[in-house]
């Protein structure tokens, strides 16, 4: 039994009194020490969720706790790097790090922050306003890590970086997190950059949680099947495509599969893309503590969605014949 870093229950946020719900009915748990990827298309609610966890937004409904308290009370223990990497343009890099020192008394560790800046060959006396997007990302990450956070929230952290800097900073980030047991949550719409680094996945779409849980368990709960077009029977079909007589489908098996199907475990990218292509696919939340790969669909709504999806897929198969 590990401590819980983030727990969201029925979390929702509406912008404006009659505005759009950027996030709704969001429920998940993230154990402390995990490295979690938030994946999803633009507008899925990733940034809204991160801002709620960082205490920068108040939920419209539901609640979110960080280390068992409300996010505002956990402010000292978390660091947040927003998508546009806000920094004060009139400060130099050295002054920006001094700001981290002044605003985090007793926590700040310059020996962590300074090498990150130096690793990019940046002049400490350069002004933030004269830096490129990637250089600003580096300074923003140095500021976040210098705080020695127990929870690090990163919104699209690598988007502005060239491949070399991305590789180097991701390495620094992961080594630091592993050494200190930091919980890391990072969003991205580039799935490939998350696969090696993360052990948990939160897939979002249309303001909802689509998949949540330990990455290995989520992958193991799905099977990529190929074969002659036929009945997938009791299984939950996430997505299926027919090319000629060949059917390829991503399913959540309910019971043994017929021997005629060729099966393989999907990659993270296949898992994510299949769910993004099928917005009606039922949600799946796995908790690592069950220790099994059992499909623990969270509520009866999901089950009725199952039926619906199966029917839709059956219809599509009919049409294809």
């Amino acid at each position: 039994m590990t401590d819980t870093a983030i727990e969201a229950a029925g979390l929702g946020r509406q912008f404006g009194r009659r505005g759009k719900w950027a996030l709704f009915d969001c429920t998940f748990q993230l154990p402390a020490g995990s490295v979690c990827a938030i994946a999803g298309p633009n507008g899925a609610g990733k940034s809204t969720l991160l801002a709620l966890v960082a205490g920068l937004l108040v939920p419209t409904e539901g609640e979110v706790t960080v280390f068992g308290t409300n996010p505002g009370a956990a402010r000292e223990r978390l660091a947040f790097v927003a998508q546009d990497k806000p920094l004060y343009p009139q400060l130099t890099i050295a002054e920006t790090l001094r700001l981290g020192h002044e605003l985090n008394p007793g926590r700040w560790n310059a020996a962590v922050a300074e090498p990150i800046v130096a690793g990019g060959g940046l002049d400490p006396h350069a002004r933030i306003r004269n830096l490129s997007g990637g250089q600003r990302t580096r300074v923003a990450l140095a500021l976040a890590l210098g705080k020695r956070p127990e929870l690090l929230l990163l919104d699209e952290p690598m988007a502005d970086l060239d491949p070399l800097a991305r590789h180097q900073l991701m390495g620094v980030l992961m080594a630091d997190a592993a050494e200190n047991g930091t919980t890391v949550v990072m969003s991205s719409h580039v799935v490939a950059e998350l696969e090696d680094a993360c052990d948990h996945l939160l897939l979002m779409g249309g303001g909802r949680v689509r998949l949540a849980g330990p990455l290995d368990d989520l992958l193991a709960a799905h099977v990529l099947v190929t074969g002659r077009a036929g009945d997938l029977g009791p299984h939950t079909v996430v997505e299926s495509r027919t090319t000629g007589r060949q059917l390829t489908a991503l399913i959540r098996p309910n019971g043994p599969l017929d021997a005629e199907w060729q099966t393989s475990e999907p990659t993270l990218e296949e898992l994510v893309i299949a769910h993004l292509r099928s917005p009606a696919a039922p949600e799946l939340t796995l908790t690592g503590e069950t220790g099994t790969d059992a499909d623990t669909d969270t509520d009866s709504d999901s089950d009725s969605d199952d039926t619906h999806t199966d029917e839709t897929d059956a219809d599509a198969e009919e049409a294809a014949k």
């Binding site: 402010r75 660091a79 985090n104 008394p105």
Partner: protein, 259 residues
Amino acid sequence: MTALPASPATGRPVPGPRGLTWTVLRLHRTALIVWGAFVALMIAVLVWNEVGTADAALRELDGCLRHSPCTIHAVIIYNERIGLVGTAVCYSFLAVAAFSGGALFGRELEYGTVRLAWTQSVTPGRWLAAKLAVPALALAVGGTALVLAFRWAWSAHPELLDSDWTSDHVFVARGPAMVAYSLCALAVGAVTALALRRTLPALGVSVAVMALVNQVMEYYRQEDLVKYWTPHLAETGILLALAATAALAAFALLHGRTD
């Protein structure tokens, strides 16, 4: 990195302001320098006017008693300088409103640097308190110096003056209402920026609100000008109450927005 204040290795802190005070002073260093330069310039002009030019103006007036026609060029310039400084000191609150709604609060909210500040180890409430208190102290100190200098200059040679204390700029610049206008402008800028979250609209609305407040005050002031201190202190009190209301509203807006 030598610019850092206290490396864990030496552990010796650099003297000077720390924490949020350091942050606010550093972020708005330019504005602080401009304000300090304005205060120094206004006082320098007043001192020069009295020490460097008043004697020549007095000689002119003296000459006019004996000769006719006479020239009063130096007297006119003497009065123009005092009038110019009085007007600048009196209406400096409009610049304060523009700074507060724009650079101090509006820009942070529009460009999202508040998300940086609010995810350090300080609460948004303490952030707002520091962003109000540090400029308020600078405005109070500088404003007091300006008022004292103006009072001295205005009473040094009453025989040279062609305007009396009922002029709007003289009325404000001779007492604590001048400081109260600045503090009110500071708080109005904060609440406007927190409500609008955009730099230019917050700047424009803050200036417009303060200009309106001033117009209303000037209108009612004219009805009651037999004594100086009673209406002046009443106006000061109203402005300080407005400032407190705006500051409380800013805290309330902030509280509803963040966790």
